[in-house]
Amino acid sequence: MIPELVVSDVTVRFAGLVALDSVSFTVRPGSTHALIGPNGAGKSTCFNVLSGVYRATSGSVRFGDAELTASRPHQVAALGVARTFQNIALSPRLTVRDNLMLGRHRLTRSGFVSAGLRLPSARREAARHGARVEEIAEFVGVAGVLPTPVGLLPYGTQKRVELARALCMEPRLLLLDEPVAGMNGEERREMAELIVSVRESLGISILLVEHDMGMVMRIADSVTVLDFGRRIADGVPDEIQRDPEVIRAYLGDIEESAS
């Protein structure tokens, strides 16, 4: 079962600066929801609150029955919330396979003793999850580079590996922080297709931060717009595109949305 993600009245303050000002929105189960806004609007802060990296000053984030604002990052992960990072956060010296295996961390159990002694249970677990990792790598299109250290791969491929690692957590909610940032047109199109097929084949909820408006309008079911930490609009893409306040917020930032 995929639960709803309900963000209500979340406020985040850093030393007098209000990064998020009572923001609310809801991600419906199985939908693709986009979070957009000019630079500095608070999108990344919002993601950091959702994944337990930042503590909200007030407000609540509920994922089904669980309250995320009171959880540490690994507890959020245990609920089946996965995320990718705007700047790639992989281990460059580890192979793609090892990076993906880390995604299985929450689903596996072997600890220091069983791994150190190479107990049969640990070996079986590694083999079983290794097979699943290969399936996911195949799905994301990085199966060919499984034995390659991540640091040697081109940027676009690393972005895919990040997505694959998040999928390896078998998430119920996937948070994607600018998945196509820095990619060329062809790579962007492929990534957008991949995101659509993730949603279609896995049926999970996706929350997406992205600057590429064309892509957002194509793949998102609903959109929340932030500006200076406040929510200025929320609705389906068609409404958002016509919303005067959104247009105003973006006018000062035309280059950004055009790029």
Binding site: F14, S44, N48, V53, Y54, F85, Q86, N87, A89
Partner: protein, 296 residues
């Protein structure tokens, strides 16, 4: 009561000296994010130069040479090693400074050998009587000099272009560089300033009632590490507070050693480290340290 006051004044004086060392340590950390384990050997280098040069140059010139020398050693470490180490993590850089420390300390302690070197200071073993309190003149001078240096330093940190560049770099090195701050200069000057401060500290750690500069001076210098971290590695105020806490703790624990016999001999030397642990248990980032906000 008199004993307590004497110990307290002594503790504050020694603490001010620790604060000088810790301040240099914090400045390097703020400017380069490197935890500098060479600090004890910088101090030893400064003290050693003063000890070797004062018979020929006289004390004041020797002191100037020691300060300049330690500043130069600091700057050289930055220029020749830290700047050139292309490693991703600051943890590895910390290990590099440990390597440098091994080199410097081994060579300096070898030069010193089993000797105890006098620094030729003009205060000798004179004692000042302030009412019932007796205190070594060196301690009074140490307190005065440390206070003056710390004030000057904090003012410079706040108001000069150098200070602004330093603080901007600590805040966000990349943006500072884009705004025209020369990171190389900032980091070089941080190391030089830290070296100079350490040399002054060396002087006061080695004068009366301490017999002089010897192998154990590094151990004394190491007490600046807990001073820096318990105050907060990224806080100059923290370095001051940390220095004072360490100095006073050490003085009191040593002074009341006979009453604290159950804690064992030499508890004064271990006490600063135990206080550090006690504080870190409650405030992992130190008293004045900022909890690092992750940027992702």
């Amino acid at each position: 009561m008199t004993t307590f006051l004497e110990l307290l004044v002594n503790g504050i004086s020694v603490g001010a000296v620790y604060a000088l060392i810790a301040l240099g340590f914090v400045v390097i950390f703020k400017a380069t994010e490197v935890v500098n384990f060479t600090h004890a050997s910088l101090l030893l280098a400064g003290g050693f130069l003063v000890a070797k040069l004062h018979p020929a140059l006289g004390f004041w010139l020797a002191l100037a040479a020691g300060v300049a020398g330690a500043a130069l050693v600091g700057a050289l470490i930055e220029f020749l090693i830290i700047r050139r180490a292309r490693v991703g993590s600051h943890g590895v850089l910390a290990i590099v400074t440990i390597g440098v420390d091994i080199l410097l300390t081994t060579e300096l302690t070898r030069e010193i050998g089993t000797d105890v070197l006098a620094l030729g200071d003009p205060w000798r073993d004179q004692v000042l009587h302030l009412g019932p309190i007796m205190i070594a003149e060196t301690r009074v001078v140490a307190l005065g000099v440390a206070a003056a240096l710390i004030t000057a330093f904090l003012l410079a940190f706040k108001f000069t272009g150098w200070g602004v560049a330093m603080r901007a770099t600590a805040e966000d090195a990349e943006t500072a560089a884009l705004m025209g701050v020369r990171l190389g200069r900032v980091s070089l000057s941080a190391w030089a300033v830290a070296g100079a401060l350490a040399a002054i500290a060396a002087l006061f750690l080695c004068v009366f009632p301490t017999p002089g500069l010897d192998r154990s001076t590094t151990a004394a210098a190491m007490k600046a590490f807990p001073a820096a971290i318990l105050g907060g590695l990224d806080s100059t105020t923290g370095a001051l507070a940390g220095g004072l806490i360490v100095g006073v703790t050490e003085a009191l624990m040593s002074g009341y050693q006979s009453q604290l016999a159950f804690l064992g001999r030499g508890i004064g030397d271990a006490a600063p480290f135990l206080v550090m642990i006690a504080i870190l248990l409650f405030r992992p980032a130190g008293i004045f340290g900022t909890k690092e906000l992750a940027r992702v």
